[in-house]
């Protein structure tokens, strides 16, 4: 059977629907995701989000152009457990990816499964050559996650913002199509 970019072993990716708003609002407002929500720029990344703001996020995602925002669903429980995005706004040759798993569902392999689905989509259905992840330097779990999946540190965008009383850099991690394919040969 043909492998789907949107159906994993335990998880499924689908567009957001209006009924996702309560669950999305609940996990986005979790303190552990403060500053790493990976939501559209116009919305606050730290301050608590209202229902109306979260509706706006879902609306913005529904209208996304040159990016693919997706809800991460655990079909067995019918639960929304995160969101993910491929973004080729600048150039489909060098898209970026983002994965966010709700804190209650982290460290269970869900992020890895989502990343593999996103990469499968980018590499099997788009001309992506270099895929990058841009992550705040204080977000150590995400940096470790990237390295574990074969991404290399390309450098930093210095002084990308302010977090907990200091400047932070965005660490840029990238992987080439050939590198990912070589690491996943035979799968």
């Amino acid at each position: 059977m043909m492998k789907s970019s949107f159906q994993g072993n335990r998880l499924a990716l689908r567009p957001f629907e209006p009924h996702d708003v309560p669950a999305l609002q609940a996990y986005l407002n979790h303190p552990d995701l403060s500053g790493r929500r990976f939501i559209p720029w116009a919305f606050p990344d730290i301050a608590p989000l209202s229902q109306r703001q979260v509706e706006g996020i879902v609306q913005r995602w529904a209208e996304a152009d040159r990016s693919l925002p997706l809800a991460v669903i655990r079909p067995d429980a019918g639960q929304l457990i995160g969101h993910a995005e491929c973004d080729w706004h600048w150039d489909p040759h060098q898209p970026s990816v983002q994965v966010v798993i709700a804190p209650d569902y982290q460290r269970q392999g869900h992020g890895s499964e989502v990343l593999e689905l996103l990469m499968r989509h980018l590499l099997d259905y788009t001309p992506a050559h270099n895929v990058s992840c841009w992550i705040a330097d204080w977000n150590k779990p995400a940096l470790t996650f990237c390295q574990r999946h074969g991404f290399r540190v390309a450098g930093r965008m210095r002084r990308a913002g302010i977090h907990q009383g200091r400047y932070f850099d965005l660490v840029i991690n990238d992987i080439l199509r050939t590198e990912w394919k070589a690491a996943h040969a035979g799968e």
Partner: protein, 189 residues
């Protein structure tokens, strides 16, 4: 009053500049990003882009024409974009080939940096270029930008894959290079 450098001034775009700006955009040597091709931008497109700018007291971008101070010749275009007020901005520059190696681009870049740090009050200025145009990298390095990230094979130019370069200069680095200027803005941290 326009922004004034040693040999150039940076002034607002005017309708009569549009043919010059169009010619810069359509010059494949001048245009760094292959994604901006093909070189078929028309005068009508440029006029629409020009007319589309709205008045604002809170703009996130600025576009200037670089003009030779003595001769009045048009040299190029310099801009900043993605302004995060009082924090960061992205710089962009392109100059006509005739003026390459004359110091005009450097002067324009210095003039813009002084404006961004001393008037706009940003804490960092960055730019994106790529490894296929070492001339642009040298120009930025002369002003104090450093290559902070190198994204591999991320750009195509002259049939080659080049690395996208993220370059930046911090506020304190800029003022350290300019002892003639005083930074009245205290550090945040």
């Amino acid at each position: 009053m326009p922004l004034e450098g040693k040999s150039v001034v940076l002034r607002e775009q005017r309708r009569e500049d549009l043919p010059f700006l169009q010619s810069l955009q359509n010059d494949m040597e001048v245009q760094a990003w292959s994604k901006a091709l093909p070189p078929d931008y028309t005068d009508v497109m440029y006029a629409k882009r020009y007319d589309a700018r709205e008045f604002s007291y809170d703009p996130e971008e600025a576009r200037f024409v670089i003009v030779h101070k003595e001769t009045g010749e048009l040299i190029g275009h310099i801009s900043y974009s993605d302004l995060e007020r009082r924090f960061s901005a992205h710089l962009g520059i392109m100059t006509a080939r005739k003026f390459w190696g004359t110091g005009a681009a450097f002067d324009a870049q210095e003039t813009m940096l002084r404006f961004l740090f001393c008037e706009v009050g940003v804490r960092v200025v960055r730019l994106f270029t790529h490894s296929g145009i070492p001339r642009a990298v040298r120009l930025a390095e002369r002003a104090g930008f450093q290559v902070s990230a190198q994204i591999r094979q991320a750009n195509i130019k002259y049939g080659q894959l080049n690395d996208t370069l993220v370059m930046d200069i911090l506020r304190e680095e800029y003022f350290a290079r300019h002892p003639e200027l005083t930074d009245a803005l205290p550090p945040l941290f």
